[in-house]
Amino acid sequence: MEVDSTRYSRQILFEPIGEDGQKRLLQSRVAIVGMGALGTVLANHMVRAGVGFVRVIDRDFVEASNLQRQMLYDESHAAEGMPKAIAAYESLRRVNSGITIEPVVADLTWQNAEELLSDVDLVLDGTDNFQVRFLVNDVCVKHSIPWVYGGGVSAHGMTMPILPGETPCLRCLFDSAPAPGTTQTCDTAGVIGPIIHVVASYQAVEAMKILVGAQDKVRRTMLNLGLWDYGTNSIDISRARRADCPCCGRGEYAFLESRAGDETVSLCGRNTIQISPSEPWDVDLPALAKRLEQSGRVEANKFLVRFYATEEIRLVTFGDGRVLVQGTDDLSVARSLYAKYIGM
């Protein structure tokens, strides 16, 4: 393989990578799930570093409110409402024409996750919700593919690499996703750009270590970062693998087999989609209403909270955790708004 020694010269000079490491990067295949703030930073790093094949997966469209932090998009992408995967592809292609970039406009679900993730050497997490991370974890453990979890909201974030069979998987540490509507999302609590860049850069460096074969250098801690109010701390997870972990211990891939996670049901054929959690939740409706008021118009009574996500689309949440997304018949739009405002 011919290595462009000018383009990658500074990275080759970095001794732990060198010419051999650069060759390995050029021969590597990476999938990035989610092309929001984390995903765009991750893709930027992978493409500039010369990872030979980068697949970028996203279900969403570029909006003006993304531009504050999602580094691959510009005003023309937002004005056109271009799919993020395509907009990212266009920006990335201009950065590095010597590698392959594959945009995929899709919602990662249990039906397509193995097809999209099992033919790569590494998966990077740029997603915006808990459910999909458990799905990524299932696929990666099942196919022994390393992945790097990262999350960021407000001014805090967290990251940890997962080497299946070697380090704890996500389910060794968290057995299930939190109840819908109980956690912060960027659309309810806000987010500042720097936390995302910091988290994604930590993820990217672990990716580089894994891809060049420096497994002994891979972080064995779960890193917690607070950029505004508190500092940085970490937990040593080198002994936290659980023999009874349902996923990496017992080989049960509940999220991939759709036994866990949200079930999505389309109602009435047109313009209303119901998303019901797999187990009922006792939703604190007044607290949900209060949180959503930060983001738009809310009408609430003791049975439900109606939130106007856009002029056309309303999210109606009931006390048992069911959400009706009214005003769309597009499943991925419904799931995207649910993840943004209710959290999943």
């Binding site: 740029g126 919700n129 808990f130 912060q184 659309d187 917690n224 937990i235």
Partner: protein
């Protein structure tokens, strides 16, 4: 009682177990991992894990966003 939480000394009254610490900070149990004196404690053991003054507790949150 003084505990060292995420590297900072914090005064917490009436805390006898990790479950009391979780309640004190109003933590969502499903999305935190707690390390007590360098051991990760499974959440089913919070109620029986006794804390004493000077204990080192690290709390990290599972963060959902990324958007």
């Amino acid at each position: 009682m003084k505990l060292i939480i995420n590297g900072q000394e914090r005064e917490i009254d009436h805390a006898q177990t990790l479950a009391d610490v979780v309640a004190h900070f109003n933590l969502n149990e499903r999305i935190v991992v707690i390390e007590h004196n360098l051991n990760i404690i499974p959440r089913e053991l919070y109620t029986e894990t006794v804390v004493v003054a000077g204990d080192k507790i690290e709390i990290v949150h599972f963060v959902g966003g990324g958007c």
